[in-house]
């Protein structure tokens, strides 16, 4: 099936998320849409899948113009989509999820036999190993993704859209997915692969279309120079290497010993972590999402709901057992991984958010009464210092852009003397300009003698910021390695190998596909 997007535009109010985009996907082709977060890739695919109506432009299937009023139409036309956030009902079985919307019934009663048969068939064809009767919420993320692919294939998708499918996978799972994409293409199914990860796109795509700010800025050959592609993607020459001098570690500030966090159901989310961070150094915690990073930082902050054993000391003071308030007062700054959920009160003003964990200090309150004057002075100062782009200090934080929201959180946490600074995903969903700024501030804080712990799932960020890297896998530290450790080794460690195993494996097999580019290009 040949799919054409013909001069598609999509506006939200006065804002154009997609502007005059034309793309052709040939049968059996892997067509990559490469672009930064917020470039308009997902909007485009939602238009294609019938979730949005295009403001103008046409969609053609095998040369015939189509109008999709909903996903049902798109599916009927042979388009399937694997969403970034899976569209699976967690409490349903795999078969129920696959059947939903295309149920077969016998005498009015649901008949899942046929669905199960199809699942088994597709499952064995692509080596998926999916049990039709498993409850989806019990399945690992990688398997859930395969259920999504099965859902599309059962509906005879001829074009499969994968929206940022590797965000939640380990490098090795990613490689498996890329292999699946190749198989699909070989069997005639076109694949539209949406990603902002250059390496993956280069590894698998037949054609690359680069999108920036809602427009197609170029079509590229997968063999193109990665630096060029990156420049195309972000619109200017990128210097993502952080300017930082070698660390001058002082005394040990944070000492974590045999830390374990046990969830209510008995699962060990953090399983015996020990590490140390000295003043004036950055320790980066690397790992695929969901391997205990969140729980580690929550345990330090006294936020975890699980049972904590072991010890966390700050300058020799025990933090385990302290409430979050006490931990903050002990001189710990914290940037949570999801600023919208944990870092900001969206409806509060910028001014209020800038004192969210300081409002009850002497500086900002007296006898239970807020000192609005001091709050105002503080916000004026921070907005200036961090170049926070906001109409005024009274604007609700939710109206700010992601980068500026993150600046509010950072400004607040760095506005008092710290001994330890913990930042989770400090630049997730933040524009390039702000990333540089925020990285600069983090290094500055280090140079002030603060111990810094960065938790990031972005290997690039880890490598750029870290003085040392601790890799987490299934709640354990599989190794603490120097910052110049190769991507290959780090990737394998993130999949659970120890450093020595990983080094051997990396040598034996040569660089894996997704890591190979690094050596070629050295950017991103």
């Amino acid at each position: 099936m040949k799919l054409e997007l013909d001069h598609i535009s999509k506006a939200f109010g006065d804002f154009y998320a997609n502007q005059d985009i034309s793309i052709t996907v040939e049968p059996g082709q892997i067509h990559s849409l490469l672009g930064e977060n917020g470039a308009g890739k997902s909007t485009l695919m939602n238009v294609l899948y019938g979730l949005y109506q295009p403001t103008s432009g046409r969609i053609l299937v095998d040369g015939t113009p189509q109008t999709f009023t909903g996903p049902g139409d798109a599916m009927a036309a042979g388009i399937g989509m694997v969403h970034q956030h899976f569209m699976l009902v967690p409490v349903f079985t795999v078969a129920e999820n696959v059947a939903l919307g295309a149920e077969t019934t016998r005498g009015g009663v649901l008949d899942l036999k046929e669905t199960r048969r199809k699942i088994r068939e597709i499952s064995s064809r692509y080596g998926f190993d999916v049990d039709p009767d498993a409850i989806v919420e019990d399945l690992p993320v990688g398997v859930q993704q395969r259920v999504e692919i099965i859902k599309a294939l059962v509906r005879n998708a001829k074009v499969l859209i994968l929206d940022e499918p590797t965000a939640v996978l380990t490098p090795q799972e990613t490689d498996e997915l890329l292999e699946i994409m190749r198989q699909l293409a070989a069997s005639g199914t076109s694949v539209v692969f949406i990603s902002h990860k250059l390496r993956e796109v280069k590894a698998v795509a037949d054609v690359i279309t680069v999108i920036r700010r809602g427009r197609v800025v170029g079509e590229a050959d997968p063999k193109a120079d990665p630096t060029e592609l990156a420049a195309l993607m972000v619109g200017r020459e990128v210097h993502l290497n952080v300017n930082k001098t070698p660390a001058e570690p002082g005394e040990t500030v944070l000492k974590v010993q045999d830390l374990a966090v046990t969830a209510a159901n008995g699962q060990r989310l953090v399983d015996g972590i020990s590490l140390e961070i000295s003043g004036g150094e950055i320790l980066a915690i690397a790992g695929v999402q969901g391997n205990g990073q969140t729980e580690l930082s929550e345990a330090i902050m006294g936020l975890t709901e699980g049972r904590v054993t072991g010890s966390i000391t700050l300058d020799g003071k025990e933090l385990v057992g302290m409430g979050t308030h006490q931990v903050l007062r002990a001189g710990v700054g914290f940037v949570p991984e999801d600023r919208n959920v944990d870092g900001l009160v969206g409806a509060f003003s910028v001014q209020e958010n800038l004192v969210l964990d300081l409002f009850d200090t002497e500086q900002f309150s007296k006898a239970g009464s807020l000192n609005l004057k001091a709050m105002g002075a503080n916000s004026a100062h921070r907005i200036d210092e961090f170049d926070i782009r906001t109409p005024n200090a009274q604007a609700a934080a939710s109206t700010l852009s992601g980068g500026n929201q993150q600046k509010v959180v950072m400004a607040r946490e760095l506005s008092r003397p710290l001994r330890l600074f913990v930042a989770s995903q400090p630049t997730r969903g933040v524009d390039v300009g702000s990333i540089e700024f925020l990285h600069g501030r983090i290094v500055e804080e280090r140079d002030r003698g603060t111990a810094v712990m960065i938790v990031s799932t972005e290997l690039d960020e880890v490598i750029q910021l870290a003085d040392r890297i601790a890799v987490l896998y299934q709640g354990r530290v599989v190794g603490i390695v120097p910052a110049d450790t190769s991507r290959d080794v780090l990737g394998l460690m993130m999949a659970g190998m120890t450093q020595s195993e990983a080094a051997v494996a990396a040598d034996a097999h040569g660089p894996t596909e997704t890591t190979a580019i690094v050596e070629e290009g050295g950017v991103l």
């Binding site: 308009g40 903050l328 009850d360």
Partner: protein, 470 residues
């Protein structure tokens, strides 16, 4: 009940909706509700029904009869609530008297709202507060002044206890406060029913469940002699000021609001969500207790079944109409107080059942909760937006121009100019008001979807344009 996260979001949209509407919408909502009420009075009027049998022969007679019925009823309502030829401004004092417990209990509902909780339990809190207060009123005999103070304190204690149970259970077990408060309302009613039959509470010589009359020393002093208006009204005003201070100027209020808007962020910032939850419900209950004191020491002077009347439920509508702000609640309380005072007069002089007030009140809240409906009714969408522009030409608005959210008009000010991409596509929460705008969104093939103003989406709000407000 699990699904806490959902509940958090539920409350979010609730609060934003309450805060988001305009006062114009409130006024129009009141107007429409009164008209609907008037129509109801008109068509159920006997003269109208009689005339309606020959409606097509003489429609004027029927319409005239209906008009007369409705206007007479509303005139009686007005005379009972504000001013009448016979008794001057005496009815106004009745309005203020009726408003007193409504304002107090309404503040309790509003404060809980602001802390992210839906307190349907004012009824139970008032009931238990009344049990405590009444007992102190008739069983203890204390000096003038002190006695009233003790009765108020006991009422507040009872209400705070009943509210506190909810806060405590929610904080420790995660049980949802809506279910808890509904259930505790009924427990309180049964408790009152039982306790009135115990020797400690039953008036000697009575078989009907009614308590002894509280001591004179336990009464709120009457402010204007010859009326029922008592000192409780002044207390209500002071409470409005107190709640305003708590919410807007105190560290406690900062915590309550933060927990109400985003409990996860509040916890991360070192606030104790559990403590805030408990305190908010206990304070809310305490405010309900004040309302109980207004009943016991202000107007009723005894404890009987139905001690809370319908104040607890009216308080919810009062808080909603007042958009959960202290002064909004005050004025909404005055309005509903006027309805209550006027309805009594209306029933007496025109025979119109008092229940019409419930209809009008609930309609007001329904309309206020759905501003798009009101705007549609009055064509405000078109007025506000002016003629809808033709589908914008793609070339004139380019995404590369940093679309400044603050400069793109009313919607944009709330955060339009959104990049609905990648991580979070717009989870727009505001109603698709433009959809209902009638002719202005005539469908044609390439018509763009109406802009979804996602500004109200709160923590799930999509990211706005990077560098947008440059």
């Amino acid at each position: 009940m699990s699904a806490q996260d959902q509940m958090i979001h539920r409350e979010k949209s609730l609060l934003q909706r309450i805060a988001g509407g305009s006062w114009l919408v409130s006024v129009l909502a009141i107007l429409v509700s009164l008209i609907v009420g008037g129509i109801l009075i008109a068509v159920t009027n006997e003269d109208f029904q009689e005339a309606a049998t020959y409606f097509f022969a003489r429609p004027g007679t029927a319409l005239g009869a209906g008009w007369t019925a409705a206007t007479e009823a509303y005139l009686a309502l007005f005379q009972g609530a504000i001013v009448s030829p016979d008794s001057g401004f005496l009815p106004l004092t009745e309005t203020l008297t009726n408003a007193t417990p409504l304002i107090m209990a309404g503040l309790g509902v509003a404060l809980a709202f602001r802390a992210g909780m839906f307190n349907i339990g004012a009824q139970g809190q008032i009931t238990v507060g009344a049990i405590f207060g009444a007992y102190a009123g008739f069983a203890w005999h204390l000096p003038l002044g002190l006695h009233l103070l003790v009765v108020i304190l006991m009422s507040v204690l009872g209400g705070a206890l009943w509210g506190g149970i909810v806060g405590w259970l929610k904080a420790t077990t995660g049980a949802h406060e809506v279910i808890l408060t509904i259930m505790l309302n009924y427990v309180a009613i049964k408790l009152l029913d039982w306790i009135l039959n115990t020797p400690a509470f039953l008036r000697p010589g009575e078989t009907n469940p009614i308590s002894p009359i509280v001591d004179k020393s336990a009464d709120y002093p009457v402010i204007i002699p010859g009326t029922r208006l008592h000192l409780g009204f002044i207390v209500a005003i002071l409470l409005v000021l107190l709640v305003w201070w708590i919410l807007n100027r105190s560290t406690l209020g900062f915590t309550l609001r933060a927990v109400g808007e985003n409990p996860a962020a509040a916890a991360t910032a070192g606030m104790s969500v559990k403590r805030a939850t408990f305190l908010a419900m206990a304070i809310a209950g305490g405010l309900g207790g004040f309302a109980a004191s207004a009943q016991i020491s202000g107007t009723e002077h005894v404890l009987a079944n139905g001690a809370a009347g319908s104040i607890g439920f009216d308080a919810i509508t009062v808080a909603l109409l007042g958009r959960s702000t202290p002064w909004g609640t005050f004025f909404a309380g005055l309005l509903f107080g006027a309805f209550r005072a006027g309805a009594t007069n209306m029933q007496i002089s025109t025979g119109t059942p008092i229940d019409i007030v419930l209809v009008v009140q609930s309609l007001i809240v329904l309309f206020i909760a759905a501003p798009p409906l009101v705007r549609t009714m009055f064509g405000l969408n078109r007025l506000a937006k002016g003629p809808k522009p033709k589908a914008p030409k793609p070339t004139t608005h380019v995404a590369e121009v940093p679309a400044a959210p603050a400069t793109v008009g009313a919607h944009a000010a709330k955060g339009a100019g959104t990049v609905p991409d990648a991580a979070d596509a717009p989870t727009a929460v505001d109603s698709p008001s433009a959809v209902d705008a009638g002719p202005s969104t005539a469908k044609h093939a390439a018509d763009p979807e109406p802009p979804t103003p996602p500004g109200e989406a709160g923590p799930t709000a999509p990211e706005t344009t990077e560098g947008g407000s440059k």
